[in-house]
Amino acid sequence: MMTNPPQSFREASARLRVQGLLDAGSFTEWLGPARRITSPHLAALDAPVSFDDGVVVGQGLLEAQPVVVIAQEGLFNGGAVGEVHGAKICGALLRAIEMRARAVLLCVDSGGVRLHEANAGLIAISEIMRALFAVQAAGIPVIALVGGTCGAFGGMGIVTRLCDALLISEEGRLGLSGPEVIETVKGVEEFDSRDRALVWRITGGKIRRTLGEATMLLDDDIPAFRAAAAKTMGDRPRQRGLSPDALQTLEAAQRRLEARATLDPGIRDGQQVWQQMGLGEEVALMDPAEFNRCLEARER
C-alpha cells in the first residue's frame, strides 16, 4: 500500500533540487564548494559561513538541451543575497549568454538582501536585474521556480517577477515585503504574520497563479517542476530581439492588468478574490492540477 513518497521540492536542499531538475549526471558546478569562496562579511561578524555562500550555480542538460541553473539555499541565512552569493548569480546569468544556453532555471528561495552585507547585497540585486535583462535580450528565457521554505521576497521577489515564466508550488510564496516586516512596520492589524493561512492567501502560490503572476501552479514535487520547466522551455523558442508575437503578449498582459484593476479595491484577502470569481472554500483543498484546470476554464 506504500507508494513512493513525492520528492518534495520544499524539503530538498538547493543541491538536491539542481540534481533532480537536470538530466541525470549532467550538472557541472561553477565555483563549487571546494573553491571556498565564502562571505568575508559573515566571517568579519563571526557568523557561520557556507562553502558555496548559499547558492549553487552551473550548467547542465534539461531534456538534452543546455541550460544554466541557479539555486538558492533557503535554509542558509534565509537564502539572503550577499556579495558573493549575488556575484555568483550574476556571473551565471552572463555565462548563459556566452554559452548560448537554451534557458536559465532560477530557483529562487530567498527573503531578499542579506542584512549583514547591506549595501553589497543591494548592489548585487541590481546587478542581477541588469544581467537578467541581458539574458532576455539575448533571447534566452529565464524560468523562475519557487517552492522553497523562504519563497521569493524583497529584491529576489522583484527579480522573480522579471522572469519570463514563474513556476510555483502551493507552498511557494511571492511578495515584496515579507509578512513579518509588514507586521513590524504597520502593526498586527495590517498583517498578522502568525496567521499562516492569511499569509498564504496573500502571498502563496494559489493566489499568485490566480492573479496571473505565476504561470503554473505545481505539486510540491521535484519531477513536477522538472517537467513544467521543460514544457515552458519548449513553449518559448529561442529568439533574439522581439518575437513576432511580442505585441500580442504585451496586449495580453495589459488585458490581465486591466481585469485586475476591476477587482474591488476593498479586497484584502485572496479568499475575497476567489469569492468574486465565484469560487468558494473548496479552493483551499484543490490540488494544483484541478486548480489550474479551474482557472484555465475561467480564463478562456
Binding site: P5, E11, E170, E171, A197, V199, G204
Partner: protein, 552 residues
C-alpha cells in the same frame, strides 16, 4: 452509650449555601446572569478563604469567569484557596498578585511556570501541593472540595442544562464534587440555545450561567506539524516501534504530546505496516484526537480512542469516525479527563513520552530552574498500577523481565521515555543531578518535582539505542544502562565501556544495528504525512486545522 448532642446542627453547609444564593438574588434572573453583573455576583456570594475551583484545563479555559474574579475588589474577595488543574491564563496569576487568592493546589502551570515561580519566591502564594490530575480530582472528594466552582461549557438552555461540546476535560468531576457538597456551580457558556444536542450536566446541579462575551479560549495543544519532525526523531520512532511495540505486542497505550511520539504515530502506517504490525500493536488508545494519528486511523491500525479532551479542528473528523472515537448520539465527541486518566492507569500496557532531564536512576523531570511547571497527567500515565490484576501479553512479558528468575506474581506496565541525548548545545538530557533538587531548595518544597520516578521507567530510547531497565539487576547496572544510551553527554562519556558492552551482549542495551535498523533508512520520507496539508488530505478534508497551522 452517649445520647446525641441536642444542639448540634447537621446542615450548616446547606444553610451557608442558601445564604450565598440569597445574597446573589439581585444579580441574577433565575440562573441567568448578565456578563456585566458577574463581578457583583461573585463579590456577593464569595467569602474570604473560600475554596474555589476555577476551571482551567489543558485546553478549555473558563476565561471570562477568571477575568471576572480577577476584577473583584480584593477588599471583598480575598485569601481564596484555588484548587484547579491548570494555571494557563495571565488572569489566573493576577488573582494571587492582587491578593484575591492566596493558596493554591494544582497540577500543571506550563504557560505560567515562570510567573508562578516568582510569586512563590516573593511569598505572594502558598502552594499546598503539585498533583497529578487524578490525585487532585481524588482530593476534590476528600479534603479539597470546592465551595464554589467556575466552569466552562459550550451551551446552556433556558433551564440551565449544559452541553460541554467535545472538550469535556475536567468539568464533570468538578461539578460532581461541588454540587453534591452544598457548593455553588457557576458556568460560562458560549451560547444559549433552545435545544441542546445532549445534556452533559443537568440543570439541577447548576446554580448560575452566563453567556460569555466571547467563546472560551481553547488552545490547540495537541497539534504537531509534521514539518518539524527530524530524521533523528524518525530514527528513534523506528527503534521504539521495532524494539518495543513489536517486541511486546503492545495493543493498548497512551502517547505523550511531543514530536517524538508524533513521529511514531506517523510511522505506524508506513514502517509499522512494513513490519506486519497492523492489527498486532497500537489498537486501543487513551489519547486526545491527535491530528498526527489520522493516517494510522485511516490505515486501520487504530481501532479505538478514548480522549481526555478534544483538539481544535478535529471535530468533524471525530464525528465522522464514531467507530473509533467515543461520541454521543448527537455525533460530537464525549471526552473525560478523569475516566481517560483511569484508563491510562489501569487499562493501558504502555505509556511513551518525552522529558527534559533524566538522572542515573531514571528519574525524569520537566522542571528547570526558575520555573514551576507541575506534572499534568504524566505521573499517572507514566506509572505502574500496583492495583492492576488483569493480564495481557505485553504486561506479562514486562513483568517476567522484571522478576527475572523469581516467581512471577504480577505483570508490569511499560513506561518508556524517548529522548534525544542533547536537547540543544549546553542542554544535555542526561544529568548526574536533576535541576529539580535545586528547585526544591529554591522554592522550599517538601520533595523534588520529579515527573516520572525511575523505578517506574521500563525503557529509555535515545538516538544511540534502547536501554531496557527491566533487565537491570542492580542500581549500578541501571546507571550503566542509562549511561550506555546517553550518547556524548558528560553522563554518557563517563560510561564504563566494558560494562556497557556486557549489557549490550545481554540485550539490556540495543543499538539500531542490533535491532536490524539501518540508520540511513531514517528519513522523513517514512512519515505518512510530512505536512499539515497531508493530514488534511488523509482525513478526506474532514480535519480543519486552526489558521496558525495552515498555509492555505
Amino acid at each position: 452509650m452517649n445520647a446525641p448532642q441536642p444542639h448540634r446542627v447537621w446542615n450548616q453547609e446547606a444553610q451557608r449555601r442558601q445564604a450565598r444564593l440569597q445574597r446573589s438574588v439581585p444579580f441574577a434572573r433565575g440562573k441567568a446572569v448578565a456578563p456585566a453583573d458577574m463581578v457583583s455576583l461573585l463579590e456577593a456570594l464569595l467569602e474570604p478563604g473560600d475554596r474555589v475551583c476555577l476551571e482551567g484545563n489543558n485546553q478549555k479555559q473558563a476565561d471570562f469567569l477568571s477575568e471576572s474574579l480577577a476584577a473583584c475588589s480584593p477588599q471583598r474577595v480575598h485569601d481564596l484557596h484555588l484548587v484547579q488543574s491548570v494555571l494557563a491564563l495571565p488572569s489566573h496569576m493576577e488573582l494571587f498578585e492582587k491578593g484575591i487568592a492566596r493558596r493554591l493546589d494544582f497540577s500543571f502551570a506550563g504557560p505560567q511556570a515562570h510567573r508562578l515561580a516568582r510569586l512563590v519566591q516573593s511569598r505572594s502564594i502558598e502552594i499546598g501541593a503539585i498533583h497529578t490530575y487524578l490525585e487532585l480530582f481524588g482530593r476534590y472528594f476528600i479534603d479539597l472540595t470546592p465551595q464554589v466552582c467556575l466552569i466552562a461549557a459550550q451551551a446552556a438552555d433556558a433551564e440551565g442544562n449544559l452541553y460541554l461540546g467535545p472538550n469535556t476535560e475536567d468539568t464533570p468531576v468538578i461539578v460532581e464534587a461541588t454540587a453534591f457538597k452544598s457548593g455553588i456551580v457557576i458556568a460560562q457558556v458560549n451560547e444559549r440555545v433552545e435545544h441542546l444536542p445532549r445534556v452533559d450536566i443537568p440543570a439541577g446541579w447548576v446554580d448560575f450561567f452566563v453567556v460569555a462575551p466571547s467563546p472560551n479560549h481553547i488552545e490547540p495543544l495537541f497539534t504537531r506539524d509534521p514539518r518539524h519532525i527530524t530524521e533523528i526523531q524518525v530514527l528513534m520512532a523506528m527503534m521504539a516501534i521495532k524494539g518495543i511495540y513489536a517486541e511486546y505486542g503492545v495493543e493498548r497505550l497512551n502517547h505523550g504530546i511531543g514530536f517524538d511520539t508524533a513521529a511514531i504515530e506517523l510511522l505506524l502506517p508506513t514502517y509499522g505496516a512494513s513490519l506486519g504490525l497492523k492489527g498486532r500493536v497500537a489498537r486501543h488508545w487513551a489519547l486526545n484526537p491527535h491530528p498526527t494519528l489520522i493516517p494510522a486511523i485511516e490505515a486501520g491500525f487504530v481501532e479505538r480512542v478514548h480522549s481526555f479532551g478534544s483538539e481544535v479542528g478535529m471535530e468533524a473528523y471525530v464525528a465522522a469516525r464514531p467507530d473509533v472515537f467515543f461520541t454521543g448520539a448527537d455525533g460530537s465527541l464525549r471526552s473525560n479527563r478523569a475516566f481517560c486518566q483511569t484508563a491510562g492507569l489501569y487499562a493501558c500496557d504502555m505509556f511513551i513520552g518525552s522529558t527534559l532531564q533524566m538522572d542515573l536512576a531514571g528519574n525524569s523531570s520537566t522542571a528547570t530552574l526558575g520555573r514551576i511547571t507541575g506534572f499534568g497527567g504524566a505521573p499517572n500515565m507514566g506509572s505502574d498500577a500496583r492495583g492492576r490484576r488483569h493480564a495481557s501479553p505485553a504486561w506479562l512479558k514486562a513483568g517476567r523481565e522484571r522478576s527475572g528468575s523469581g516467581t512471577q506474581v504480577r505483570g508490569q506496565k511499560l513506561v518508556v521515555q524517548t529522548v534525544e541525548t542533547w536537547r540543544e548545545p549546553h542542554h544535555p538530557t542526561f544529568v548526574e543531578r536533576l535541576d529539580a533538587w535545586q528547585l526544591m531548595e529554591d522554592m522550599g518544597m517538601d520533595l523534588p518535582p520529579i515527573m516520572i520516578y525511575g523505578d517506574d521507567v521500563s525503557h529509555v530510547v535515545t538516538e544511540e539505542g534502547i536501554a531496557n531497565l527491566l533487565l537491570c539487576r542492580s542500581p549500578e547496572e541501571r546507571a550503566q544502562a542509562i549511561r550506555g544510551v546517553a550518547g556524548y553527554t558528560p553522563v554518557g562519556r563517563a560510561r564504563d565501556q566494558v560494562l556497557v558492552e556486557n549489557l549490550r551482549d545481554r540485550g539490556v542495551i540495543r543499538r539500531p544495528a542490533d535491532l536490524g535498523i539501518d540508520v540511513r533508512d531514517a528519513t522523513r520520507d517514512l512519515l505518512a504525512a510530512r505536512s499539515i496539508k497531508d493530514l488534511v488530505r488523509a482525513s478526506g478534508g474532514l480535519y480543519q486545522p486552526p489558521k496558525q497551522f495552515r498555509n492555505w
